[in-house]
Symmetry: C2
Amino acid sequence: MLKYLTLGLCSITLMGLTIPPVQTKEAPIALVIHAGAGTLAKNLMTPTKRKHYEAVLTQSLTDGYAVLKKGGSSLDAVEASIHMLEDSPLFNAGKGAVFTHDGTHELDAAIMNGKTLAAGAVAGVKHIQNPISLARAVMEKSPHVLMSGDGAEAFATLLGIPKVEQRYFYTQEKWDLLQEVKREAEKAKPFGTVGAVALDHAGNLAAGTSTGGLTNKRFGRVGDSPIIGAGTYGNNQACGVSATGHGEFFIRTAVAHDIYARMAYANKPLKQEADEVIMGVLKPMGGEGGIIAIDKQGQIETSFNTEGMYRGWVDRDGKVTVKIYRE
Amino acid sequence: MLKYLTLGLCSITLMGLTIPPVQTKEAPIALVIHAGAGTLAKNLMTPTKRKHYEAVLTQSLTDGYAVLKKGGSSLDAVEASIHMLEDSPLFNAGKGAVFTHDGTHELDAAIMNGKTLAAGAVAGVKHIQNPISLARAVMEKSPHVLMSGDGAEAFATLLGIPKVEQRYFYTQEKWDLLQEVKREAEKAKPFGTVGAVALDHAGNLAAGTSTGGLTNKRFGRVGDSPIIGAGTYGNNQACGVSATGHGEFFIRTAVAHDIYARMAYANKPLKQEADEVIMGVLKPMGGEGGIIAIDKQGQIETSFNTEGMYRGWVDRDGKVTVKIYRE
């Protein structure tokens, strides 16, 4: 970054001619996060609760932005932001993962490098504190993209990644939620997911997503989060995207790749196509949820068809914004 | 179909005016299958072996086409064609599934309805004789798209789908292949996959894919076959696609959805975009493999960047073609 600025401010003298400095602007950096479209209903959101949510979202943005600001990669920023969200009990990922039908926890995550199209993902892991980091290890330390269940955990063991007991993921709130869903005889209830998308000084986009899946889920169900193209996609040619919502609909419409493809092939702007996919395609199908995205120019967009979506961003000028509902 | 033809041959008399019969052509039907881009090297293909391969491919086409011809759905045709390929020991799916590193079998499959975008998939099942049918059950009898491992098998049990012992999948050829791959200290070797795409009289596209994955695979690796958007995609708006090849590359580039999106958003013809993805995008990355596809007009295309791809089709005029290499 410093090098970039210095070059921009130098004048060059060549064969007696002085060329004035080019007015190079600092290469833009940008970061956006979400922590699920399954927000607490607005009428249940007390000022105290709101402060808690906003504090964690802000810290996640601060962690990720610090990486970008000092010239770090968008992958590192995405991982740092998601770590904070995974470590919080508030959201449905990592520590706060919801319970399956059997009262266990099964976590999914994915990460993608928009420069190389390298990608890594894990599905149904049970003892990994930060699934986003295991997804990154799959991307960087294996020839594979997606590993699932016990096999993915065996890979973690091989790399010396420590395991946690299932009780690490216990939170009273999520336990109560499982009982409520079972009482109401709902098959499975969408709750939330966390994700981040970043653009670094080198112009590289990265996207990542992490989740505990559906409350009361059965049958080794895998949602969109670890599916490259559905819940997560990044390609420097157009944009990076992370999604949250009722995963089955996001898989069937390949949401993250679809937004990328509409930009890449129809040459449409991010905002228009993100809204078209979330409002025009998903909503009529009954697919609740939303996305966060950044285009290659650093333009940040969020779009959701639910009452709210926990979200926040740091724009190209360093301004931090955190929001929960539409306002 | 009969109704359709009858309507086309009637003249209509209305208020004294006789309107001549519209020259309605029978609605086109089409079917294409593949059984993997990991063909036997051309110099090892004896005339006897070739006859065996061609006979099974032809039977698979006959089974699927019979469904379409009598007015059945593209989903039924895809399932019927894939059943035949899964039941053959020749290909890497069902009976002929390759061995994992641990000497077991883990099978993946997916199917998609191009009319409704409904989709179903299973990953890492060990005791299911026809994984394509379990994928279809996930699509039609659950609210989910993807189920994995023991959970997927628990779902099969609930539906009364019979299990087979792992030894059902034993074939000497695939066992020898595992020993060879281990001797050569290869991490995992791509081998093949089977798939089918069909267009029915009602104008609906369907696509399906089934595989035994990589020989010597570890860590619960999941390839592109059960990933909607990567190995399998179908949308009546443009085309249906089934892929075969080195799955990791097919996931990273969301091959099946990418071909659909290039047609849908850039308005390009199937042949051009299939070749662009297989030759222009995948080949430079090192992504070996190919695809089969049908567009909404019933145009059949196949494209591969390997020496051969087991494949065959029945075109709109009912002509059956079976091929292995380029000629």
